[in-house]
Amino acid sequence: MTVQAAPDPMLPEFLPVDRLVRETHDTFTLSFDTRGRGGFAFTPGQFNMLYAFGVGEVPISISGDPARSGELVHTIRAVGAVTRALERAKKGTSVGVRGPFGTSWPVEQYSGRDIVLIAGGIGLAPLKPVIHQVLKRRREFGRLAVVYGTRTPGDILFKKQLEQWATRRDVELAISVDRGDPGWRGHTGVVTTLLGRVSFDASNAVACLCGPEVMMRFAARELEKLGLPNERIFLSLERNMKCALAHCGRCQLGGTLICRDGAVYRRDRVLRLMATKEL
């Protein structure tokens, strides 16, 4: 058995886990120390294929700060065999990494504009790098509104980070839960109700949506009603993914391959795809 001379994009790089932080009962954040390999460059919205030894591989968005080059961070919801295996990782566990793959939130296009980020559930993870990036170059952009909906107060991710951002005057943060609990004093109701309560100029704003597809459809319609054209609404789409190389054909949605042309799409380009049943 010999090692291939040509680069093989199917070979994972094994990185040792640096930290595993529990976010909620079913979601955790995995960090890798990448200083030894000169960092891990990525742009907000991209994802890696993470491999749990002997179990399998899943696509997971990178959720860390792109400017912190010494670490690679993923926030993962444990729902299946692979993600549950990753949940059992400890400091030093070897996890296979392939990537980064996919398209990014085109933040450069947002210069001078108001930005509205709408996140649902685990969808906050792929948007978090955008928040970091915008805050780092704050003066380049207009208003920044982060609208985040999730199931219950216990499911809120990145609590400490959100608390920190909530104290800033240059970002507006609105959180809603579908179901409140007795101790909750925040907003209860679907995330779309928050859109009327944050400030942005619909005539120039851009919106990035990430979360369950149904939530993105409802939220996008709400944005349309508020006057945002589809050319300024970006979404993150998802389908079954195995190779991430545009070789296995599984992630296709109509005429697009999500691993190659997505996951981030401009809404006008995917409107019909999202509206067709069982596509």
């Binding site: 579908d178 409140g180 004093r185 907003h187 109701g189 369950p212």
Partner: protein, 156 residues
């Protein structure tokens, strides 16, 4: 509060936006200001529904007591919202608790007074009912999305 000032204040509430001067005036005899402290209840499930509330400030949580689960919060309503339609429709009982999670300032409209006016003046009745229908339409859309429980983990 003087009627004129009350009228002007009422006119600023989103629910009554563009309501004619005459109808606003008509309304003032049914309205009073209401203030609720933190954790005070605007309504209790099962009690007679006597008022319609137009929330001006603060946040009201709609809750239900579920044995074994305690108090379950269904929705919160903030400034601009309308709360308490049970006051307008038989059998006139609250079907949820309403608790002020933040101190609440609201216009409280007497249910019986409002019902009489709606029945008595068809134009006024239409103006109010049309607005209520719009609120219901939007609330239903949100309730349906909430029911879809989109963030539920699909275990694989």
């Amino acid at each position: 509060m003087q009627t004129q000032t009350l009228e002007r204040a009422l006119a600023t509430h989103p629910f009554l936006a563009d309501l004619g001067q005459e109808h606003l005036h008509f309304l003032t005899s049914c309205v009073k200001n209401a203030r609720f402290e933190r954790d005070a209840y605007l309504m209790h499930e099962g009690e007679p529904a006597v008022s319609l509330f137009l929330i001006r400030e603060g946040r009201v949580a709609l809750e239900s007591q579920v044995p074994g689960r305690g108090s379950v919060q269904v929705e919160t309503l903030e400034s601009g919202a309308v709360l308490g339609w049970s006051a307008l429709f038989p059998p006139h009982y609250w079907h949820l608790d309403g608790r002020a999670v933040e101190p609440v300032l609201a216009f409280e409209l007497d249910g019986e007074c409002l019902r009489k006016k709606i029945e008595g003046d068809k134009e006024f009745g239409y103006a109010i009912t049309r607005r209520l229908l719009h609120v219901v339409h939007r609330r239903l859309e949100r309730a349906r999305l909430q029911q879809l429980d989109v963030y539920k983990a699909e275990l694989q």
